[in-house]
Structures are given as C-alpha cells and as structure tokens.
C-alpha cells in the first residue's frame, strides 16, 4: 500500500514545527534546547576546561568530548540509565558532526565537554541533539565556522520524506532512517548514517531534500541566538 498522505498531514518535504531556546541551564558555559515536533533535546557545554585524566590532554589541540543519551522516561519502554552501545555510537558521531566547524587547535591541553540528553523522544533524536549542541557551543562562545544543522530524512513505505516521526518510522510497510548533518555554508555533510532500504538515486534525492530542510533549520537556530543576544554582540 502506498503512503499517500503523511499521518500528521505534513508535506513530504516539510519538517515538524521546530523551536530553539538558548541559555536554558544557568550553570553551564553554554546551553540550548531544540525541539522538533514532540522530540526534545537539551545540550550543555562546559569548557574549555581542564582535561582529566591528564594523559588525555593534547598539547596540539583541545579535546571535544560528547555524551549523548536518552533519559530513562523519554521513551515508551523505560530506558535503562547509563551508556548503551547505541548511545556510545551516537556520542561519537555527534562529536564528528561538529568537529569540521570547530578549530580545536586554539585550546591546547584543554577540553570542551558537550552533554546532550533527550527528554522526550519521537524519532530524530540525534538530529535534534546535534541542533541543540551546535547552539550550546555558540552560546558558550566557542568560535565556529558555521552552525551545524541536522535532520533525519528517509523513506516511509514508498515515499521519500523529511523529519520522520515515530509513527512513520514504525510504518507497517517499513521505513528507512537517514540522519544527516550539514554545514550549509559549505554544503559539507558532517553526519551520514542510514538503516533501511533505498536505491542510490533515492538517497541522492533524500540528501537534497535534507539540505533544503537544514537551510530552514539554520534560520530557527539563528533566530534563537538573536533572541538571546539581541544587539549585545553586534559588531
């Protein structure tokens, strides 16, 4: 059976309603919330600060360390607290997705710790997490060449779509999840993963759709930054 109309009525290239907020955690050096539909991610940055244990210090460049996880009650069936194989992998790809826009050579011996947690999950959590993380790094005043924006594209039944929610991921005909992140300024993809079933041509189409979505998400991010730094940091 073909998927003619999306469950929540969106167009196939339409993202869910998105919201971003900067500075949600007062103690952190930088923090942000990013919501897409019913998926909510929070991110906090601490640093640059000392790196422990000290053998992890690098005189040539600072160390970006990301920790991603789902809160136990963010999903239908309780998630056992503590790192899982999934969260370990997502922590690593999140780190790699942000690395291309950061110049860590300025922070010799130091570390930047980035914590990303999902408080409510409805698919697309790593993308929401990266969007929040990128804003938290900006809020912490870490020099960045661009904001990284992220979106999950994919395929629901027979249709290419952006920003799948959980109901779509669980479609009875099957769904493909293709999370991506981008520096829209250079067009560089900095996160690319996929599970499911698509042809080469479909993947290209999905990536182009995702690029457009990322351009829109970046506007949401910039508006959020402006809301906090209205006039304050003008050149």
């Amino acid at each position: 059976m073909a998927y003619e109309k999306r469950f929540d009525g969106r167009k196939f290239d339409e993202v869910r309603e998105m919201e971003a907020k900067i500075g949600i955690i007062e103690r952190a050096d930088g923090s942000a919330m990013f919501r897409t539909g019913k998926t909510i991610a929070i991110a906090a940055v601490y640093g640059p600060r000392g790196v422990f244990p000290s053998f992890l210090q690098n005189p040539k460049k600072g160390r970006l360390k990301c920790t991603y996880d789902l809160l136990s009650f963010s999903v239908t069936e309780r998630k056992r607290p503590g790192p899982s194989r999934r969260s370990t992998e997502i922590s690593m790809v999140t780190e790699h997705s942000l690395a291309p826009v950061l110049d860590m050579t300025k922070y010799s011996y130091a570390g930047i710790d980035l914590y990303v947690y999902i408080t409510q999950a409805d698919a697309g959590t790593r993308a929401a997490g990266i969007n929040a993380a990128s804003l938290a790094l900006a809020d912490a005043g870490i020099p960045m060449k661009d904001l990284i924006t992220s979106i999950a594209v994919g395929k629901v039944s027979d249709k290419i779509a952006v920003d799948l929610d959980k109901a779509e991921e669980d479609h009875e005909d099957g769904a493909t999840d293709l999370p991506m992140a981008m520096s829209t300024r250079t067009g560089e993809i900095t996160l690319l993963q996929m599970d499911g079933n698509m042809t080469r041509a479909e993947i290209k189409e999905a990536l182009e759709m995702g690029k457009k979505a990322c351009e829109g998400i970046k506007k949401v991010q910039i508006e959020a930054l402006k809301a906090k730094y209205n006039g304050g940091n003008k050149k």
């Binding site: 194989r85 999934r86 370990t88 790699h96 291309p100 560089e188 599970d195 080469r200």
Partner: protein, 255 residues
C-alpha cells in the same frame, strides 16, 4: 607519511600501485573453531579478521514474538594492532560491531521468522562475534565480510526438550534470504578510494561504509571521521561501492 600518501594519490597512484576503486586480494575460509555453529576467516591483503556464530535459545522480545534475535559484537583485540588495548569494547569497537550489525539486520539477510520455535515463548538467538587478528587497514570491510561468511557457514545445534545440546550440530543451515555486502570508501584530500591499507588509513579524513544487497539496494550507511563530504561525493562513493560489489560477488561465487 600523511602528506606522502596524499601526494601519491595526487599523482593518480596508490602506495601499492592499485587503482582507486580496487580492493586488495580477498580470501575467505571457514571453520576457525569447531565449537562454533559457524565461523569464517577473511583476509583482505594482510588484514585478517575472524568471526564466529554461536546460537542459543531464549524468549523473544515483546514487540517481535515470532522472530529470533541477532546480536553482533566486536572486540579490537590487542593482538591485532599495537594501539589496541585490552578491556571492554571502546567506541571504535562498538561502531565496528554496529556497522556490521546494521548491514545484516537492515537487509533482512536472516529469515528471523524461521528462528521462531514457539511464538512468544522460545526463539533462536544468533550471536556473532568479530575478532580482528591483524590490522593492516580496513577492518570494517573485513569484519562485515567475515560475519556474513560465518552466517553462510552456520548450522543449528541440536535442540532436545528446549535445551541446546552443546557441541552437537544438525545439518540445518541458518535460513538466509539475502547476502548483503559492505564496503567502505575513504576520502583523502579530494580523492575517494576503496580498501585503504594501514598507511593510507592514517591519512583518511572521512569514510563512508555502505551495505548493499544483491539487487543493488542500499540498506545501511555510516560516515566516520571528522571531515565533511558533499552530496556529490556521497553519491559517487555509493556508486563506487555498488560497482565494486558486483565484481566481488562474481569473485566470491556465492550465488
């Protein structure tokens, strides 16, 4: 060394004279352990990985009462590389296992419903463990191939009154529907190349692993490394994998 690797590629050559889209010689053999339900050894050039399948019975997950389970683990044993340390799997080992896992799982390679013994009560669990023996670059592709080969080689153990009779094997093969294969394209400078050796691997800026079924459909992808990749490069990398795999499938003569 990194600059040298790059300069060789700039001259449209590789350290060992291969073309960009060529793999090193691939060798698959079976029967690493006679205690395993299935096992295989894969050599890609001097890189060597062994994988074994163990099977057990257990209760199914609530959301898949009529399906068996698959688990894939990988350990970067300190025998294979002077930089690998003993201890629990680190993020690199976890990523390796998950790339292999998704290639198998997402393609629907194993007929999971045939692993059901009694719906909601008892199913077969298939556990694949991967151990690199010698890391001369490109452990991902060697691991993915070893896991798939071990599955092709796997038979059910005997089951009497719901108890597995360890060490007694049947002649029944694990039911497979597809053979997904995974290859990784690496980016060094502006070049995209397949099957990096150790020296090349140290110069890799980013890589894309792609799992493809017989039909040429893509079932899993994973980008690694800290550099970006354009949409055009991603598309080209997928094409390189699809082309290289149609050649590899002929060489393996598995069909």
């Amino acid at each position: 060394m990194k600059a040298y690797v790059k300069s060789v590629l700039d001259a449209n050559d590789r350290l060992d004279g291969r073309k960009f889209e060529d793999s090193r010689e691939i060798e698959v053999s079976y029967g690493v352990s006679n205690k395993a339900e299935g096992s295989a050894r894969v050599k890609i050039g001097k890189t060597e990985v062994i994988a074994g399948v163990k099977m057990d019975v257990g209760t199914p997950y609530g959301d898949s009462p009529n399906r068996g389970n698959l688990m894939v683990g990988a350990e970067r044993l300190p025998v294979a590389n002077p930089e690998f340390l003993p201890g629990p799997p680190n993020p690199a080992a976890i990523e390796l296992a998950r790339i292999v896992d998704r290639g198998i799982r997402e393609s629907g390679m194993i007929d999971m419903e045939k692993l059901c013994i009694r719906k909601g009560e008892l199913v077969w669990n298939i556990i694949i463990d991967i151990y690199p023996m010698n890391d001369d670059g490109n452990l991902i592709d060697a691991s993915a191939l070893a896991a798939v080969a071990a599955l092709r080689n796997a038979v059910f153990p005997k089951l009497v009154e719901d108890k597995v009779q360890w060490g007694e094997f049947t002649e029944n093969k694990v039911p497979l529907k597809f053979i997904p294969l995974t290859l990784t394209v690496s980016k060094i400078g502006k070049h995209l190349i397949l099957d990096v050796n150790k020296e090349e691997e140290e110069a890799v800026e980013t890589r894309l692993s792609v799992s493809v079924s017989e039909k040429g459909n893509v079932h899993a992808m994973q980008k690694g490394g800290e550099a970006g990749l354009s949409i055009e490069e991603s598309d080209k990398a997928i094409g390189m994998v699809i082309d290289a795999l149609s050649k590899l499938r002929k060489d393996l003569k598995w069909n």
